[in-house]
């Protein structure tokens, strides 16, 4: 896959406002974001400006705050400070533009629902309060299931699906939202080869449709192949930009290198002292 991102304006520099001189807005604009659990910072002073229409990988060691970054953007964890904007506005005003694929382990797969019902959950906001999931919406959910190659398993209870199939219906649930920006938390973790291919095909299609996709990823070997934009994270943004520019040995060392960076040690001390 080559980088087809129509990069408009500067990508990531300290001065970039949420829109550039031509008025082209960033898909994701983050300024001074700090998130802390039990007062210990998990993300510290994150600045990020990601242009629209890219498939962006988020990489970093365990505990680097990759999932937390996504959750902070979606207002699922409280911000200690900072601002987050999606296409120039805070998330709560842009919900309908955003699709979310949580980690597969985050839900109980023994819950009594089938694949179709799970996918239809992506439409609950569109359907609105007090209303049932009507046939129109069921059809849309079925189409999304077909998109991920799961149409014939629509009535299957979700515990009866393999790990890869579960990941695919999670993806279908986000697709059915028909969002402009997608956040996917480790969609490739623990999936079979067929599912991996299906996910890549979907990423490709979303890219062609001009969507912006953020993917928390672990496998560094596939970074060049899957993504055209990369966010290297270790509590702070070590580097962010087109993969070709930022995926360098030097940046990798700064992201993953060393057991405890000076910053880690300082933060640890902070956590203990308060």
């Amino acid at each position: 896959m080559d980088a087809t991102a129509p990069v408009s304006g500067p990508i990531a520099s300290e001065q970039t406002p949420s829109s550039d001189a031509d008025g082209n807005r960033c898909a994701l604009h983050i300024r001074d974001l700090t998130v802390a659990y039990h007062r210990k910072p998990v993300l510290w002073d994150v600045d990020l400006d990601v242009p629209p229409s890219v498939v962006a990988g988020i990489v970093g060691p365990n505990g680097a705050g990759k999932s937390t970054l996504i959750k902070a953007v979606l207002d699922l964890v409280p911000h200690a400070s900072g601002t987050v904007e999606i296409f120039g506005k805070p998330y709560r005003k842009q919900r309908r533009l955003v699709g979310y694929v949580p980690q597969r382990e985050s839900v109980d797969w023994n819950y009594p629902i089938n694949a179709l019902e799970l996918v239809a959950m992506g439409l609950y906001r569109t359907i609105g309060w007090f209303r049932r999931v009507g046939p129109v919406y069921r059809r849309r959910a079925l189409e999304a299931l077909a998109d991920v190659g799961m149409a014939d398993l629509a009535r299957r209870q979700i515990s009866q699906l393999s790990g890869g199939q579960q990941q695919r219906i999670f993806l279908a649930r986000a697709l059915v939202q028909d969002a402009d920006v997608y956040f996917m938390d480790e969609p490739f973790s623990g999936v079979d080869a067929a599912t991996e291919k299906a996910i890549i095909a979907i990423l490709q299609r979303l890219r062609e449709a001009g969507k912006t996709v953020f993917v928390v990823h672990h496998d560094l070997e596939t970074v060049r192949e899957y993504f055209d934009y990369l966010i290297m994270l270790n509590m702070r943004v070590v580097s962010a930009g087109p993969v070709a520019d930022v995926f360098t040995p030097e940046n990798l060392r700064r992201t993953y290198g060393g057991r405890l960076t000076l910053l880690d040690r300082a933060v640890d001390a902070m956590g203990r002292s308060r």
Binding site: R95, E117, M121, I127, G149, S162
Partner: protein, 461 residues
């Protein structure tokens, strides 16, 4: 058994209490916060006591308001303690509800001593007293407790119907719910308020300890029996209503059989629910112990059949005619039937019944259809040996064991893929010929139990 109008009202009250508890309790089970039902059912006690002390009234609405407030208080305290003391949630609940409950007991002991709240009734309920306090509607006397239960049940049903989607999403995936703008935390609090109000309404009937059984056991039963949310709720509620009826009848009939006085309906009802749960665990269609044992037995029989037909196919290769005596079945090298006469007899009986094997003069001869299926097993077996030899670097001596397991889980599609991998190779690593594919490749006595195959049957992307 003498059935009076008192009995009817008792059963109605018990059924209403059961139904309303089961409906709300189901969501606790689904949300995996069953302990919260425990916590709130105890914690409402001080709410009731304080409401009574402040207003001097035991009227339903006052009690419900007290309960609702305590429900919120409990949920907030549990969250605060979990967060700030960094305790696990179970421990926080344990701290909160026991302390609140103790305060409630003291308040009732001291301040409400001479009124009709008795600690004993608080703990275990007094459904027998329900019919004694009545309210008149157009000349029709209805017990006060029943009216309260009807109101709370109606509120619960209405809310569940109106917010069915939202409850489903918030209990299944709270993060997505919140991301979509359905505040899962708010749903949690609403649920806790409903649990508190339900508990109070059911108080007279079942008391604060047995109410936990009413909240949790029906959901646990539904968890075993159903796979969709609506049936889940219906089963949960239905089971409670049945338990109320059966429980009361048992309470007034069973002890007299042994020469004792009637026992408490609420205790009997909880016992019946426990019995239902036990039955569900045994007999649930897919997840029950018996269903699983049955599936295992079928799977073993199917595997045994395949093994036997495989042995016959091997014999046919060597001698031209596929027949073995019972002793030979057991004595061939690495026979799965060695020392297992019973298993062999059962397997051969099954194969004969299916017309895959015929018995002739103490020997068992494979039929044409049986041979075809035996060859398919052999084909899978030898393809797997080839696979492990080429890809797995498994020792020649250990190939057989590995292939012996997998041959039983190889459907025609998988066999086809293996064959394509090793196209042009006609033998297994030891030089035995891999039988040609018979047409159509059929699975033998296809095990209906879930095999690893079924689970991983992915549509090809």
């Amino acid at each position: 058994m003498i059935w009076t109008s008192l009995d009817t009202w008792i059963v109605v009250a018990a059924a209403l209490a059961g139904a309303t508890c089961a409906l709300i309790g189901s969501f606790l089970v689904l949300k995996k916060v069953s302990m919260m039902g425990d916590a709130i059912s105890h914690a409402v006690l001080p709410g009731i006591a304080v409401a009574f002390i402040l207003t001097g009234s035991r009227a339903g609405p006052v009690m419900l308001v007290g309960a609702a407030l305590v429900g919120i208080l409990t949920a907030v305290l549990v969250q605060l303690i979990t967060r700030h003391a960094r305790l696990e949630e179970g421990a926080s609940m344990g701290v909160v509800f026991t302390v609140l409950f103790a305060i409630g007991l003291i308040l009732i002991e001291r301040a409400a001593r001479n009124v009709d709240i008795h600690p004993e009734h608080v703990l275990f309920g007094a459904v027998e007293l329900v019919p004694l306090h009545v309210i008149s509607f157009w000349g029709w006397d209805v017990p006060r407790g029943v009216v309260l239960l009807v109101v709370v049940l109606a509120v619960n049903v209405l809310l569940v119907l109106l917010f069915f989607k939202e409850l489903r999403l918030a209990t299944f995936d709270p993060e997505l719910a919140t991301a979509l703008g359905i505040n899962a935390n708010a749903v949690h609090y609403v649920l806790m308020v409903l649990v508190a109000m339900t508990t109070v309404a059911a108080f007279e009937v079942v008391g604060s300890i047995l109410v936990i059984a009413m909240l949790i056991v029906p959901g646990a039963i539904a968890w075993l029996l159903t796979r969709r949310l609506l049936p889940f709720l219906l089963v949960s509620v239905g089971v409670s209503v049945v338990a109320a009826v059966v429980g009361h009848i048992a309470a007034i009939t069973v002890p007299p059989l042994f020469g004792y006085a009637d026992t408490s309906t609420s205790g009997s009802m909880a016992t019946v629910l426990g019995l239902f749960f036990f039955l569900a665990m045994l007999f649930a269609p897919e997840q029950g112990l018996l269903a699983r044992a049955w599936n295992t037995a079928r799977l073993r029989l199917a595997i045994g059949s395949q093994d036997a037909l495989g042995l016959l196919a091997r014999a046919a290769e060597k001698a031209g005619e596929g027949s073995l005596s019972a002793a030979e079945f057991r004595d061939v090298s690495s026979s799965p039937f060695a020392g297992r006469r019973l298993r062999l007899a059962a397997t051969l009986g099954l194969l004969r019944a299916r017309g895959l094997v015929a018995a002739r003069g103490g020997r068992y001869c494979v039929t044409v259809r049986g041979l075809e299926q035996g060859r398919a097993v052999l084909r899978s077996h030898r393809l797997w040996e080839r696979f492990f030899y080429e890809d797995g670097q498994v020792e020649l001596g250990e190939l057989h064991t590995a292939a012996d397991v997998l041959e039983h889980y190889t459907d025609p599609g998988l066999q086809q893929e293996l064959a394509e991998r090793f196209a042009g190779i006609a033998t297994d690593p030891r030089g035995n010929r891999i039988p040609e594919e018979s047409s159509p490749a059929r699975r033998i006595g296809a095990p209906r139990a879930r095999t690893p195959n079924d689970r991983e049957k992915e549509p090809r992307a």
